[in-house]
C-alpha cells in the first residue's frame, strides 16, 4: 500500500487517496465537510466548459475577427488545455507578426522600410501569395493594401475614394513588381507599394493550428476563425462535421450544408463587411484591376481545400473572377479544391467533388470538369 501511494500513476493514486480520506473520517462533521467539498468541486466542474464527455472551447479576439476553437470530447482535460494554450499562443504570435494595425509587426516594418529579410512565416505567406497571384492572373494580390485603406476597410473610416485617387493607387497594386530573392529571403517593395496578408492570414493560421493540435494528439477539432473553418479529423463518433454555408441574401438562413472532415472551408462574400453611402452598398472584396468592390455576379464563394492558405486565397480570387472564369479555374485545379458558388440571382453551383457532401433544400447545379 505504501509503495503504491508513492507511485505517481494518477488514477491509482487518486483512488488510494480517496480511500485514505474515507478511513480518516472519524466523526460526522468531517463527513459532512467531505460531502460539501465534493459537492463544491462538482459544481465547479459543471460550470467549466469541457468536463469529461464534453467539448473544450476557447474564444479569441484576434486578426480583426472573433475565433472559436473547439476540441471534441475524447481528449484528457490537461492535454486539451495544453493543446488550446498552444493554439492560442500561435494565434497571438501570428497576429503580432502580420497585423497591419500593430506598429511593431513584421508586416508594418516591411511596409515602412520598403522591404526586408522575411521571417519563416512571412516567407511562406509571401510565396503562397505570389503563387496564387500568378495562378489567378492577379485576381488575388496582397499589394491591394493601400486601396483597402483608402476605402476604410483596413482601419480608419469608411469612405468612397474618388476615381483619380483610385487610379493612382491601383497602379501600385502589382505583386509582379515586388522584387523577391528566394535564396537570401530578401523582399524589396517598389516605392509606395505596401503588403497586407489579411487575405490569406486566417487560412494560414488555421493550417498552422491544425498542425499544432495534431502534434498534441488532438484527433477531432473544429476551428472557426471568423467564418473560416479548419477541421481536424472527423467527429469522435466517426461522422463528418456539418458545416452550413450562410445564405448571402438572408444571413439567418443557410443555402446548404457540407459534410466534411480534415479540411479547410473558407467563404468569401460581400455581405459580411460593407458600408452604405448614398443609397449604394460597398463591400470589402476589392478587385485589384479596378480598385472597386468586385462586381461580377457572385454573392459568395465557398472553397473546400485541404490547405487553408489556398482555400482563403482562392475564395477571394474566385469571387473577384466571377462565375464563368471561376468555374474554368476550378476545372484546371479540380484535384486541389472544390467550391460552392452562390450567384446574385440566388443560383447555387456545386463542383462535382462535393456532390456527395452537399445537401440543400433548394435546387442546385453540379458542374463537372469534363
Amino acid at each position: 500500500m505504501g509503495v503504491e501511494c508513492l507511485n505517481p500513476g494518477e488514477g491509482k493514486a487518486q483512488k488510494v487517496k480517496n480511500k485514505m480520506i474515507t478511513t480518516r473520517i472519524t466523526n460526522i462533521s468531517h463527513a459532512f465537510l467531505w460531502i460539501f467539498c465534493c459537492l463544491f468541486s462538482m459544481t465547479g466542474c459543471s460550470l467549466e466548459k469541457g468536463a469529461a464527455g464534453e467539448n473544450y472551447t476557447r474564444e479569441v479576439f484576434a486578426m480583426d475577427t472573433y475565433m472559436t476553437l473547439t476540441l471534441y470530447e475524447g481528449e484528457a482535460v490537461s492535454d486539451a488545455t495544453a493543446a488550446l494554450d498552444a493554439a492560442v499562443n500561435e494565434i497571438e504570435r501570428l497576429d503580432r507578426l502580420l497585423s497591419t494595425g500593430k506598429d511593431d509587426s513584421e508586416v508594418v516594418a516591411l511596409n515602412r522600410n520598403g522591404g526586408g529579410i522575411l521571417s519563416e512565416d512571412t516567407r511562406e505567406l509571401w510565396e503562397s501569395s505570389l503563387e496564387i497571384y500568378r495562378e489567378t492572373e492577379g485576381a488575388f494580390d496582397v499589394t491591394i493594401y493601400p486601396v483597402m485603406r483608402a476605402w476604410g476597410f483596413a482601419g480608419g473610416e469608411f469612405r468612397v475614394p474618388e476615381e483619380g485617387e483610385l487610379q493612382e493607387l491601383t497602379v501600385r497594386v502589382n505583386s509582379s513588381l515586388v522584387q523577391w530573392k528566394a535564396s537570401s529571403g530578401k523582399l524589396t517593395l517598389p516605392g509606395q507599394t505596401e503588403l497586407d496578408f489579411g487575405g490569406i492570414a486566417k487560412g494560414y493560421t488555421g493550417r498552422k493550428l491544425a498542425e499544432i493540435l495534431s502534434s498534441h494528439g488532438v484527433k477531432s477539432a473544429l476551428l472557426d476563425l471568423g467564418g473560416n473553418i479548419q477541421l481536424v479529423g472527423c467527429k469522435p463518433d466517426g461522422s463528418k462535421f456539418k458545416i452550413a454555408i450562410r445564405d448571402p441574401e438572408n444571413s439567418a438562413d443557410a443555402v446548404g450544408v457540407l459534410a466534411l472532415e480534415d479540411t479547410a472551408v473558407v467563404t468569401s462574400g460581400g455581405y459580411e463587411r460593407y458600408f452604405e453611402e448614398g443609397g449604394l452598398t460597398y463591400h470589402h472584396i476589392i478587385d485589384p484591376s479596378t480598385g472597386c468592390p468586385a462586381d461580377r455576379g457572385l454573392s459568395s464563394v465557398t472553397v473546400v481545400c485541404r490547405d487553408g492558405t489556398l482555400a482563403d486565397g482562392y475564395s477571394t480570387a474566385l469571387f473577384i473572377m466571377g462565375t464563368e472564369k471561376a468555374i474554368s479555374f476550378w476545372k484546371e485545379h479540380e484535384q486541389i479544391f472544390d467550391a460552392v458558388f452562390v450567384t446574385e440571382e440566388g443560383q447555387i453551383i456545386v463542383t462535382s467533388g462535393l456532390e456527395k457532401c452537399f445537401t440543400s433544400d433548394r435546387s442546385y447545379r453540379i458542374v463537372r470538369a469534363e
Partner: protein, 157 residues
C-alpha cells in the same frame, strides 16, 4: 472506529453541520445550481468576461456599457438584436436577429459577444455532442436548424 464513551454526534458537530449546510446552500444558490434556470439564455460577454445572462423568453433592453462605449441589446419575442452602438463599423447593428443557440452577434471594436446558450443542455445529457452543437439542444427540431438543416457544427461565412 469511535472509542467507547465518545459521543457520535456532539453539539459542536450539529453547529458545524448547520454552518456547512448553510454555506453549501448559499453556494448552490450563488452558482445557480441545482436550481439554475433551464432553457435558452442570452449570454453577453465583453472581452471574454461575462457581462450578464438573461432569459431569452423575457423581453428586455440591455445597455452594455464599457468605459465610454455602449451597445444597446434588445431581447424581444425570443429574438435578440442590437439596436444602437457607438462602434465605428456598426456591423453589430446590421447583424440579423439571432433566435437559436450557437448563433452570435459580435461587435469587434467593443469585443462584445452576444450569444444564445442552452443551459439545460450544456451538461449532464448523454445525447449532447457538445455545447456548440446546437441541433442536439432545445426543443427537438427547433435550435440550429437553418433552412431545415439539423445538427450543424459550424457556419462558413
Amino acid at each position: 472506529m469511535n472509542q467507547a464513551g465518545e459521543k457520535l454526534f456532539t453539539r459542536k458537530d450539529a453547529g458545524l453541520l448547520a454552518a456547512v449546510l448553510l454555506v453549501a446552500g448559499a453556494a448552490a444558490l450563488f452558482l445557480g445550481l441545482p436550481g439554475r434556470a433551464q432553457g435558452e439564455l442570452v449570454r453577453i460577454t465583453v472581452d471574454g468576461r461575462l457581462y450578464g445572462e438573461y432569459e431569452l423568453a423575457r423581453d428586455r433592453n440591455i445597455r452594455v456599457e464599457e468605459g465610454t462605449h455602449y451597445n444597446e441589446v434588445v431581447i424581444r419575442d425570443k429574438k435578440v438584436y442590437v439596436t444602437e452602438a457607438d462602434c465605428p463599423d456598426r456591423y453589430c447593428v446590421k447583424h440579423h436577429e439571432i433566435t437559436k443557440s450557437m448563433e452570435t452577434i459580435v461587435c469587434l471594436p467593443h469585443r462584445m459577444v452576444v450569444e444564445i446558450v442552452n443551459v439545460g443542455a450544456t451538461k449532464w445529457s448523454a445525447e449532447t455532442d457538445g455545447i456548440w452543437e446546437s441541433g442536439s439542444h432545445g426543443k427537438p427540431g427547433d435550435a440550429g436548424k437553418p433552412g431545415g438543416f439539423e445538427n450543424i457544427d459550424g457556419y462558413t461565412e
